[in-house]
């Protein structure tokens, strides 16, 4: 995609609204050094969304988008879930795949792009919920790791099938009760971040979306590693405040609580990836 696509033809400048004119001058397209600081005043990727007020997932998606090194050359594959309600609002190439198929679809896209644009860097990212990543799509997720596909997989883990009424997922912690899981989860939460490591991911991290900078850093690291070396995985806690009975202002508090509990930091970086990250840091990209 050419960055020129955002340059307005002079003949139409007088009929374009000011905020669109502003985008031409101030948007972060084509700037590899985009940062989380752009979050407050840059809105070219996402301005409005249709999720619940105070939804941590909506905040997390903003952090992810501000962290993309090359949004104009990034394709996000997503799956059915709350995030898929936001994708129509995102000014990026996104592909909505069949539920659970997202990593298989992303693999195909990445390979086709490498063939079609051998001299260009094109980042392919998967963004799906815990149901799509860990339950129904587990096969495709792990197979893409086994095959060493150069894609970044982000799981927005809210520990429940939220928008279908609250059924337990593989990611639900043992004992948790939801509206459609009244007896409580019998088994332990699937440690997907550990499965990612044993399945061949070059980078696997588990964190909550409580700290924007940490999320943004993880995304940039994961994208840079996926470009060069192989699959990367980010497991991000984005609670569904409605399903766990919290108000719009309590999502951040819940994530901070879980920073010390189920989502205590986990990070694996392969030795090759470690070396690559040092290089990127020297270049000022991290």
């Amino acid at each position: 995609m050419s960055v020129d696509i955002y340059k307005i033809n002079p003949e139409f400048r007088d009929i374009m609204p000011k905020d669109i004119l502003d985008l031409e001058d101030n948007a972060t397209w084509g700037q590899e050094k985009r940062t989380i600081q752009d979050l407050t005043d840059k809105k070219e990727l996402l301005e409005e969304h249709s999720l619940c007020a105070g939804c941590p997932e909506a905040a997390a998606l903003r952090y992810v988008l501000t962290a993309l090194p090359k949004p104009e050359d990034t394709i996000i594959v997503n799956s059915t879930g709350c995030t898929s309600l936001m994708f129509p609002h995102i000014a990026l190439h996104t592909v909505h795949s069949l539920f659970g198929n997202q990593n298989a679809v992303a693999s195909g896209i990445k390979r086709a792009l490498e063939w079609r644009f051998p001299d260009k860097v094109k980042d392919v990212m998967v963004l799906a919920g815990d149901g799509a990543t860990i339950d129904i799509g587990l096969d495709y997720t792990l197979q893409s790791f086994f095959r060493q596909e150069k894609i970044t997989t982000i799981c927005f883990d809210n520990e429940v099938y939220a928008n279908t009424g609250g059924q337990e997922s593989g990611s639900t912690p043992k004992g948790h009760v939801f509206k459609m899981a009244p007896k409580g989860k019998v088994f332990d939460k699937v440690p997907m971040w550990e499965l990612a490591v044993t399945s061949g991911c070059q980078y696997s991290i588990k964190l909550t979306a409580s700290a924007p900078k940490a999320v943004a850093r993880a995304v940039r690291e994961a994208v840079y590693i996926a470009r060069e070396l192989g699959p990367t995985y980010i497991h991000l806690y984005t609670p569904c405040i409605l399903e766990i009975g919290l108000s719009a202002s309590e999502g951040l508090w819940e994530m901070k609580e879980q920073d010390k509990d189920r989502f205590v930091s986990f990070k694996y970086v392969s030795p090759e990836a470690e070396a690559l990250l040092k290089e990127r840091k020297k270049e000022g990209l991290l």
Partner: protein, 189 residues
């Protein structure tokens, strides 16, 4: 209360159900008839020059300077609006907008009727809108307004428009402008 179009709130694709298909190469469609391109251009110019609040809706393919063709078309569309005495309202973003768009300054393919109702537009030209969004918008406009729609398409046209002229590239737009100037003179506008 806004006027509904002939299809009213039909739950099915009306044009297709009426047996309308996009015109073959070298032809254009006027309501239900396949006609020569020049005939359609004359009629489109006449409708635009004689309808209230005629408006051109340029889409992203011409609003943004992403190719040499787009730059040429931008200059021609500006000239076209002057010849047709038409306003221009851009469709710069396809994303749905909440709680609602500002119909004074923009048109959105997900609820194009709001702009047409608000500005009481009786004839319009869609140009430079990607086909899948043009199809959505034209279906809604056909159902929910009494606006005469024109699809000026660089590809194969749109059956949901009242008039559609296909394969419209820069040189074709220049030809349309010349025809519009003649029609304008004939009408004494």
């Amino acid at each position: 209360m806004a006027n509904l179009g002939p299809a009213h709130y039909a739950p099915y694709p009306v044009a297709t159900y009426d047996g309308l298909l996009t015109p073959p190469e070298g032809k254009a469609m006027l309501l239900t008839d396949m006609v020569d391109e020049e005939v359609a251009m004359r009629e489109v110019a006449r409708v635009m020059l004689t309808s209230e609040n005629a408006t051109i809706f340029p889409g992203p393919q011409v609003l943004y300077a992403w190719s040499e063709e787009a730059k040429k078309k931008a200059t021609l569309i500006k000239e076209m609006s002057e010849v047709l005495n038409a306003k221009m309202i851009p469709m710069y973003d396809y994303r749905p907008k909440y709680p609602k768009i500002d119909p004074e300054v923009e048109i959105n393919p997900n609820h194009p009727n709001l702009t047409i109702w608000h500005n009481e537009i009786k004839a319009c030209i869609f140009i430079g809108v990607h086909c899948h969004y043009a199809n959505v918008a034209l279906k809604i406009v056909r159902s929910e307004t009494d606006c005469y729609t024109v699809g000026m398409c660089a590809l194969s046209g749109h059956e949901d428009a009242m008039a559609t002229i296909r394969d419209q590239h820069a040189e074709d737009l220049a030809r349309f402008i010349e025809i519009a100037k003649e029609v304008k003179q004939e009408l004494g506008k």
